[in-house]
C-alpha cells in the first residue's frame, strides 16, 4: 500500500521578538517649539525646563536667567 509521504512543515508564525527598549522607564515629553523666537525672550520658564526648537534643532535648558543650549550634531 502506498502511503503518501507526510511532511511536518511546522508552523511559520511571527518570530518571537523582544524589544531592546524598556517601556517601564519614562522620561518627560518635552515641549517642542516651531521657532526659538517663541520662547527665548520669555523669562517665566521654571528652572531646568527642557525644550526643543524646530528651526534651530537645538535642545535648551533654562538655568536661572539663561537658556543653555545644545546643538544637534547629527
Amino acid at each position: 500500500m502506498f502511503l503518501p509521504a507526510t511532511f511536518n512543515l511546522g508552523v511559520v508564525g511571527s518570530p518571537t521578538f523582544t524589544s531592546v527598549f524598556d517601556d517601564t522607564l519614562t522620561f518627560p515629553i518635552i515641549q517642542v517649539f516651531d521657532t526659538e523666537a517663541e520662547f527665548i525672550d520669555q523669562t517665566d520658564a521654571p528652572n531646568y525646563t527642557i525644550v526643543h526648537a524646530k528651526d534651530t534643532d537645538k535642545l535648551y535648558v533654562r538655568d536661572g536667567a539663561e537658556w543653555v543650549f545644545y546643538n544637534n550634531n547629527i
Binding site: F27, P28, P46, W67
Partner: protein, 293 residues
Amino acid sequence: MSKITDIFSSASARDASKPASSNTGLVVFRSDTKAIEVSDGTSYYGYNNDGISVDGVTNVFSGSFDGTDDYIEVGNITNLNSGTNFTISVWFKRPLARQDMLLGGAGPIATAIGMYPWSDGNFYVHLGTNGLLNATLPGENQWINATVTYDSSGSSILYFNGALAATVSSSAVSSTAGNTFRIGNFTADSGGRDFLGNIDEVSIWDSTTLDADNVEQIYNFGSPINLASNSGNYTQSSNLTHWYRLGDNASDTGSGGVSNGNTITNIENAANPGTNDGSTINGDPVFSTSVPS
C-alpha cells in the same frame, strides 16, 4: 512643563546623592558646567553645552544722531592713551551706507583709536593704524554689534555680532588716543563726518582684552546684556570701565525728560557714575526707542 529634576553643582555632589552605579539612565544637569550628563551604570557621561542665551538687559532707548553735527563727548579715557590692552563694544544702526564716524578719540590720526562704517559698505577700525583692521558689514539699516579687542603685544580683532570678522597684528596707539573721546564722531578725524543713525550700549574695558567667548556673550544673539554683572560666558563685569546706555541709565537726562525724540542733555557712565559722563553735547542728538533686541 518638562523639567530636569536632578541638579548638581559638582561631580562629588552628584556622586554622593545619585551614584552612577545605582542610577543607570539617570539624566542630570550640572549647574557648574552647564552640561547634561547621563549615567550608563558605571560612570556619568557629559554633553557639553554649545552656548548660552542670557536674558537681555532692560533696554528702551538708544541715541539718534542726525549726521550733521550731533555727537557726545565723554572726556579723556586716560587708560586708552598708549593703551596695552582694551576692548570697545558698540551697537549701531545706520539707514544707509555713507561716510560715518561712529566713535573715537583724539589724534594724531595715524595712531588714534576710532571706529567707523564707510560708504563702501566696510567697517574700519583705527587701532594705531589707519583702518588696517576692517571687514565688510553684515548689512545696512540693521542693528549691528561691533566689538574690537586690542592686545599691544598680540592681535587687534574685530567682531561683528559676536563672530570674528578680521584680525591684524597690533600697532602702538598714541599717548593721546583716549582723549576727548566721542560717540557719534571720531575726534581725530577732521572731515566733519558725524554719524547718521542710532547708537547704543557703548562699552569700554580700558585695560582688558576680552576673549571670543566674552564677545559672543556680549552679542547674546542680538539682545544686549547687563554688562555690570557676569552671566553666561561673560566674565569681565569687574573690568568694565565705561558703559553708556543712551537713555537707560537712571541718571541719563534729556530736555523734557528721557523720552522718544527728546534731546539728550547728559548720559552717565553706568560703569563708574560721575566719571567720564557724556555731558558735552554737540548738536542735538535725541533719545530714540529704536533699540537692538
